[in-house]
C-alpha cells in the first residue's frame, strides 16, 4: 500500500525557488530526457501505454494509446505538433496552474519527451490568459531551457530539435475542449470541430496533432525514470499513478493533495482536516461542475475513473468542491448553469438555446417563482442537450441539474411549494377584496 500522500508531481514544491532550472536540475530534473532521447520512439510510446497513464484533463483516455494514433513516420510536408492544454477553467479545478507555477520545468521536460515520441518539432503550451504569473513563469522556464540546450536544435546532441511556444488565451472556457483550443490557437473563435477527423489525423493547421493536459505530460518524466511497474505501485489497476486532488470549499484545510488514484472523499477530508467548523457535508463534486454531484452517501467511493463512473459521476479533473448544509442546491445549480450559458460557444443549437432557457428557469425557481412543472421541463431540456451537442460542454451543463434533481428533488419542490402557497394566499386576498 502506498502512503496516503505520494508526492511525485508535487515533490519539488516545497523547495525554495522551485520554478528555477537550477532547483529542477538539483532534484533529478532533465535526467529523464537523457534516458528517453536514446531510445526508439516506439519504446517511449509503449512505456507510457504499459504504465497505463490516463489523461488528467478529465476524460481519462490512455495517453500512450492517444500518442500511438500519430503517424509513425516523418514527412516534412506534414509536420507533427504537440499542444498542451493549459486552459484550466473547469469550475473547481486548480491543479495545473499551481503545478506550472511551482515546477514549470517538469512540464517542459515532459513536452520534450512527448514531442520526441510523436516526432513533433514544435510544441505549443496554450495557457489561459487570466493567470499572468503562471504565464510569466512558463516564459522564464522556456528561456532557461533554451539557454541550457534542452530546447532548440540538436537537444543534448541527440539530433532532435524542438521549439516551444507559450501562447496565452483570452478568456473562454470552451477553449479547454481540444478542437476548440486548436481553432483558437489558429487565431479563430474557439469553437469545437466535428470529429472525425481526430487531431492525430488533422489537428493544428490540419496536421497530425496531439493535445494533452498539463498534469498528464508533467507525469511523463517520472514514468521514464521510474518505469511502468513503479508507476503502477500507486493507484488502481485500471487507474494507476498519483493524482493531484484539489480540495476546496467548506473544509478546514483546502489545498492540493497528491494521492494515489482511488483515494476516497473520506480519506481526503481527513487529510484536509474535516468539514469546516464541523458543519456537515451536503454535496460535492468529484471532478468539477461538469461531473454529476455526489452526496454524503458517496464518501467511500474510490476516486478513480472506474469508481466515480460506477457511482454515477465522473472523475473529471479531481476538483473536489465540498459544500456544507448551508448551501442551497437549486442556487448552486443555478449559478453553474449561468456559467455554462455564458461559456456556451453558440455553435450548436441544443447547447446555445438549452443553457439559455435552463438558466432562466432556474433563476425563476430560486427567486421563488417556480412550479413543479419546471422540474420536468428542465429534465426534458437536459434530455435534449445530453449527447446531442457538438461537444462535451452541453453534457457538462446537464450534470449539475440532473444530479441536483436526482439527489435533492425535495429542495426544488420546496421552492415550488413556497410559490404555490404564496399564489393561493394572494388568490384568497384577491377573492376577499
Amino acid at each position: 500500500m502506498a502512503d496516503p500522500i505520494t508526492p511525485v508531481l508535487t515533490k519539488r514544491w516545497l523547495s525554495p525557488n522551485s520554478w528555477r532550472l537550477s532547483t529542477y536540475e538539483q532534484l533529478e530534473g532533465y535526467t529523464a530526457i537523457k534516458n528517453a532521447l536514446r531510445k526508439p520512439q516506439e519504446q517511449i510510446v509503449a512505456l507510457i501505454k504499459d504504465a497505463g497513464l490516463r489523461g488528467r484533463g478529465g476524460a481519462g483516455f490512455p495517453a500512450g494509446v492517444k500518442w500511438s494514433f500519430m503517424p509513425q513516420t516523418s514527412d516534412p510536408a506534414r509536420p507533427h505538433y504537440l499542444v498542451i492544454n493549459a486552459d484550466e477553467g473547469e469550475p473547481g479545478t486548480c491543479k495545473d496552474i499551481p503545478l506550472m507555477m511551482a515546477d514549470p520545468h517538469s512540464l517542459i521536460e515532459g513536452c520534450i519527451i512527448a514531442s520526441y515520441a510523436m516526432r513533433a518539432n514544435h510544441c505549443f503550451i496554450y495557457v489561459r490568459g487570466e493567470v499572468l504569473h503562471c504565464i510569466r513563469r512558463l516564459h522564464a522556464a522556456v528561456r532557461e531551457a533554451y539557454d541550457a540546450g534542452y530546447l532548440g536544435n540538436d537537444i543534448l546532441g541527440s539530433g532532435f530539435d524542438l521549439d516551444i511556444t507559450v501562447h496565452a488565451g483570452a478568456g473562454a472556457y470552451i477553449c479547454g475542449e481540444e478542437t476548440a483550443l486548436l481553432d483558437s490557437l489558429e487565431g479563430r473563435r474557439g469553437q469545437p470541430r466535428l470529429k472525425p477527423p481526430f487531431p492525430a489525423a488533422a489537428g493544428l493547421y490540419a496536421k497530425p496533432t496531439t493535445v494533452n493536459n498539463v498534469e498528464t505530460i508533467a507525469t511523463v518524466p517520472y514514468i521514464v525514470n521510474g518505469g511502468s511497474d513503479w508507476f503502477r505501485e500507486m493507484g488502481t489497476e485500471k487507474s494507476p499513478g498519483p493524482k493531484i486532488y484539489s480540495v476546496s470549499g467548506h473544509v478546514e484545510n483546502p489545498g492540493q493533495y497528491e494521492a494515489p488514484l482511488g483515494t476516497t472523499l473520506r480519506e481526503l477530508l481527513e487529510l484536509a482536516g474535516g468539514m469546516k467548523d464541523g458543519v456537515p457535508l451536503k454535496f460535492w463534486t468529484p471532478g468539477g461542475s461538469s461531473t454529476p454531484l455526489l452526496t454524503a452517501d458517496h464518501m467511500d467511493v474510490p476516486l478513480d475513473f472506474e469508481g466515480a463512473a460506477e457511482a454515477g459521476s465522473m472523475l473529471g479533473t479531481t476538483a473536489i468542491m465540498v459544500f456544507n448544509e448551508t448551501v442551497s442546491v437549486p442556487w448552486a445549480v443555478m449559478k453553474w448553469t449561468r456559467f455554462y450559458e455564458h461559456e456556451s460557444c453558440g455553435k450548436c443549437t441544443p447547447c446555445r438555446e438549452g443553457t439559455f432557457w435552463l438558466a432562466q428557469v432556474l433563476e425563476r425557481m430560486v427567486e421563488g417563482r417556480g412550479t413543479e412543472e419546471d422540474i420536468d421541463t428542465m429534465l426534458d431540456v437536459c434530455d435534449n442537450i445530453l449527447g446531442r451537442s457538438f461537444c462535451a460542454l452541453g453534457d457538462g451543463a446537464v450534470s449539475p441539474i440532473e444530479s441536483g434533481i436526482k439527489y435533492f428533488r425535495d429542495e426544488f419542490l420546496a421552492l415550488c411549494e413556497d410559490n404555490k402557497a404564496k399564489q393561493s394566499d394572494s388568490a384568497l386576498v384577491g377573492a376577499s377584496a
Binding site: P91, P98, M101, H122, H133, R189, N225, Y257
Partner: protein
C-alpha cells in the same frame, strides 16, 4: 496613412512582426496581437482591429468576430486597473457574491452600483478601476479570490476587497498574494502578448510569490508525516 498607423508606433509594429514569427501560420498571432493592441489603448478599439487585420491580411470583420468571442478583449476603454471578482459557484458560496456586490456599491456613484465591465473614474487615468465578475479563476482552494490585472488576491473578504480598491484609487499598488508587484492593465496586457520587462525586472517578477499555504498543504503534510511516493529502483527503468 491609415488611422491605425497613427495610434500604433514603430515599436508596436515590430512587436507585431515578432509575434507572427513565433508561429508556422501567421493567423495564430491574432490572439497575442490583440493583447498587444490592448496594451497600447487599454481596450481593443476599431483602430486596433484594423491594425491586426492589416498585419495578418484579414478583414476587419474577421478580426472583430474573434475579438467579440473572448471576454478578456474589452471593447470600451478600461481603467488603470481591472478588478475581476470570481462569482462562480464555489467562490460565490464562500463570499464571492457578497464581495462583488460590495465593490459594485462601493465603486458606484449616487447610489447606483457600478455595473459589470463599467469603470469608476476616468478610463486610463490613475486610480480608475474597471470592475467585472469573472468565471472560475482556477484558485478554488484559496476562495474567495479576486484578481487585479490578472494577479491573484486570495482569501478575500468584503473588507479586504474594499481596502484593496481604495488603495488602488489612491494610486497605491498593494502586493498581490501571489504574483509580481502590481503594475497596470496595459502592462499586464503587454506581458500576455509575450513581452516582458528587462532581465533584472523580469527575474524579480518571476520570483514573486506563488506558493500559498494552501498550495503546499499536501506536500507539507507528507513531509511532516514522512509520507513519500514509492522509491524508484536504482537500475534504469527497463521495459520490453
Amino acid at each position: 496613412m491609415t488611422e491605425s498607423t497613427e495610434v500604433f508606433d514603430a515599436d508596436i509594429h515590430a512587436k507585431a512582426a515578432e509575434i507572427i514569427g513565433r508561429y508556422p501560420v501567421a493567423r495564430s498571432a491574432l490572439l497575442p496581437m490583440l493583447h498587444l493592441v490592448q496594451s497600447v489603448q487599454g481596450y481593443v478599439s476599431q483602430e486596433g482591429i484594423s491594425f491586426c487585420a492589416e498585419q495578418l491580411d484579414l478583414t476587419d470583420a474577421e478580426v472583430s468576430a474573434v475579438v467579440t468571442f473572448y471576454t478578456m478583449y474589452k471593447r470600451k476603454p478600461c481603467g488603470e486597473h481591472l478588478v475581476s471578482v470570481c462569482t462562480n459557484t464555489l467562490c460565490a458560496a464562500m463570499g464571492g457574491d457578497a464581495i462583488y456586490k460590495k465593490l459594485a456599491g462601493h465603486l458606484g456613484e449616487n447610489g447606483t452600483p457600478l455595473g459589470h465591465e463599467q469603470t469608476s473614474g476616468t478610463p486610463g487615468e490613475q486610480g480608475s478601476i474597471t470592475l467585472e465578475h469573472a468565471e472560475c479563476l482556477a484558485a478554488c482552494d484559496l476562495a474567495p479570490v479576486l484578481q487585479v490585472n490578472y494577479e491573484y488576491y486570495d482569501n478575500q473578504t468584503e473588507q479586504s476587497a474594499v481596502e484593496l480598491v481604495d488603495a488602488l484609487r489612491k494610486g497605491e499598488r498593494p502586493q498581490p498574494t501571489r504574483g509580481a508587484p502590481l503594475t497596470d492593465l496595459k502592462s499586464a496586457e503587454q506581458q500576455l502578448a509575450g513581452f516582458f520587462p528587462d532581465e533584472e525586472q523580469f527575474t524579480a517578477d518571476v520570483d514573486g510569490p506563488s506558493a500559498a499555504e494552501e498550495t503546499l498543504r499536501g506536500a507539507t503534510l507528507a513531509q511532516d508525516r514522512g509520507w513519500v511516493a514509492p522509491a524508484m529502483r536504482d537500475e534504469e527503468a527497463n521495459h520490453g
